[in-house]
């Protein structure tokens, strides 16, 4: 098996007296697509929010390539190599599609405020590269023809894809996708699966995704973690999970 990129050890968080996630151990390895599934309210998005430090974990460590990122802030976590999308889409609604992706490259291309003000060659060459790279990303998601559209007025499926493109723009090692197929029709979901695989291969990253669409999860995930009431219920390959009694019970009830 490849080297682990993400290692979560005994991760837990309490909200007041309520323990939302407890004693969670997970690993994501290089070049892997891993699914995180579970019934509504199981704490899946809470895990993502802890990974990106939107929430502070109460316990545990999060190692990214061996570096503990549990004490960093959201911005530093992204710089360390984690990017994500959101369950309730969070695009920069008033910016164009292109600018959304460009904003994702904010830390990848550096020029000073003086360069900005005096329109130096450094600014120009950086901005040209940003534009090229952004268009390249948009092309992958078939959004290049919509580049000048306001992000907020895109159809739902396109918004989800744009969020992925924006996250990729920040050059992550680990990409977190929170229900990427939500609101997509079967055909769009099919396309999305190809895109996710393509992205994994061409950017050489690993992907952790939350999804309710079992077709997608079983098709593209190499390993799956199942969360229930904030605790790990099961882990394994899609086949193992599909035939796991505990998982079936958690989803369907007794």
């Amino acid at each position: 098996m490849n080297a682990p990129v993400l290692q979560i050890r005994n991760l837990g968080i309490d909200f007041g007296g309520l323990t939302a996630v407890n004693n969670l151990n997970m690993e994501v390895h290089e070049h892997e697509i891993v699914g995180l599934i579970g019934p509504n309210g199981a704490g899946k998005t809470t895990v993502f929010n802890m990974l990106t430090k939107v929430y502070d974990p109460s316990r545990g460590t999060i190692l990214l390539n061996g570096q503990d990122i549990a004490r960093l802030d959201t911005v530093a976590v992204n710089k360390a190599g984690v990017a994500r999308t959101f369950q309730n889409i969070r695009l920069f609604r008033n910016l164009s599609v292109l600018d959304n992706v460009k904003a994702g490259m904010n830390n990848q291309f550096v020029y000073s405020i003086a360069d900005m003000l005096f329109h130096t060659r450094k600014r120009r060459s950086n901005e040209e590269t940003i534009e090229e790279e952004a268009l390249k990303l948009l092309r992958i998601f078939h959004l290049d023809e919509l580049k000048d559209t306001e992000a907020g007025s895109l159809p739902y499926g396109a918004q989800r894809k744009l969020e992925i493109a924006r996250a990729l723009a920040s050059e992550p090692k680990l990409l977190l996708l929170d229900e990427p197929a939500a609101g997509m029709n079967p055909q769009e979901t099919e396309e999305l699966m190809d895109m996710i695989r393509f992205v994994r291969d061409s950017f050489d990253i690993c992907i952790l995704l939350i999804e309710h669409d079992m077709n997608l999860v079983m098709n593209i995930c190499e390993r799956i973690y199942v969360l229930n009431y904030g605790m790990l219920l099961a882990k394994g390959s899609p086949e193992e999970i599909r035939s796991n009694d505990k998982v079936i019970k958690a989803y369907l009830g007794d």
């Binding site: 959201t74 911005v75 969070r90 920069f92 600018d99 959304n100 904010n106 996250a167």
Partner: protein
């Protein structure tokens, strides 16, 4: 040549081209008119203040429109710039006799000091957001006004003299620069229309350079969605500070130009009403809409001056219209019909 023209008219540059064309065109027309026919004093006296208010409104739009934070104390930054410029200009009269160079240096000084004030204010303020931020900036405006109202400053052969209480400084053949509530008296009037237009052009250049860059995208991203912006590595505080300080610098420059257009200037000029006035210009012009801001500031400054008889009711009318704009602006039906109109003209004219 054609390439340059295409570039200028390209959709993403169109707003900028229109801004510059509008300002330069208006300037040329007014200059030609002034040289060919006798303009009324009322008209010529409005030119420089109008430029100042355009710059002030543009600077406020950077904070309110592009950065998405409400500032109610922008007159404070204008005041800092204004009185810094008065002091610098007053001190440099002998050293730099040329009024144009002195004006230039005074404006630079005014904007630098205002920028520093902006930086100092932004440190505690930008950790807040929404209404709290508005309240603190409001307080800042009042504090600056009160502070300047109580400063007595003069200079003579022995150097500068300064007091918070004593309005009778013992000056030997010197003169007062600031005398408390009376403000500045006997300032040399060195501002002129051309310098005002130049300042607008410089302001436009700075704002367009900013919003078109990675720094501008970070500012607007932080406005649209804080959490998403952080998730892709944008430092919210730094972006908002950049917008705020740039805005303070520009407001300071506007204040400096304004101050040096009058022989007397009282600190009370930069009160809460002036801050609100600037905000009215921005709301009328459209948040984040540069050309709209220029037009709104011009129209709303010039119209009341022409309709002097309604002067007393100006703030009342502004208040009512502001309420109407905000009420209608948030109504879904109006938004939809505006959208339709916009789409219809989107191809021909400028949208943003």
């Amino acid at each position: 040549m054609k390439k340059i023209l295409d570039n200028l008219l390209h959709q993403k540059n169109r707003s900028r081209t229109i801004s510059y064309a509008m300002i330069i065109g208006t300037y040329l027309i007014i200059e030609i008119l002034m040289h060919s026919i006798r303009m009324s004093r009322l008209f010529t006296s409005m030119l420089v203040p109008c430029c100042c208010y355009i710059v002030l409104a543009l600077s406020l739009n950077l904070v309110v429109g592009f950065s998405g934070e409400l500032s109610l104390g922008h007159a404070g930054f204008m005041a800092v710039g204004a009185f810094t410029a008065i002091i610098v200009s007053g001190l440099c009269v002998q050293m730099i006799p040329d009024p144009i160079i002195r004006l230039f240096i005074s404006i630079i000084a005014g904007s630098i000091v205002s920028g520093i004030a902006g930086l100092l204010v932004s440190v505690p303020v930008l950790k807040l957001s929404g209404d709290y931020l508005a309240i603190v900036t409001l307080a800042f405006g009042q504090i600056i006004k009160s502070l300047i109202t109580n400063i007595y400053l003069g200079f003579d052969r022995n150097g500068m003299q300064f007091s918070f209480v004593n309005n009778e400084l013992n000056l030997e053949q010197g003169r007062m620069l600031l005398s408390g509530p009376m403000g500045a008296t006997d300032t040399a009037k060195i501002s002129n229309f051309s310098s005002g237009v130049l300042l607008i052009l410089a302001t436009l250049f700075i704002i367009y350079s900013l919003i078109d860059s990675k720094y501008g995208r970070a500012i607007m991203a932080a406005r649209d969605d804080r959490i998403a912006a952080e998730s892709i590595g944008i430092d919210i505080l730094r972006s908002k500070t950049l917008a705020f300080v740039t805005s303070a610098i520009l407001a300071g420059a506007a204040g400096a130009l304004y101050a040096l257009n009058y022989s007397t200037l009282q600190p009370a000029k930069f009160d809460f009403n002036t801050s609100i006035l600037a905000l009215v210009y921005v709301v009328f012009g459209g948040l984040g809409n540069i050309n709209g801001t220029i037009i709104a500031a011009t129209a709303l400054y010039v119209l009341p001056e022409l309709l002097r008889s309604l002067q007393d009711y100006r703030m009342l009318i502004y208040a009512i219209v502001l309420i109407i704009v905000m009420q209608l602006g948030s109504s879904a039906r109006l938004k939809r019909s505006l959208e339709q109109i916009r789409n219809r003209f989107a191809r021909k004219g400028d949208v943003r």
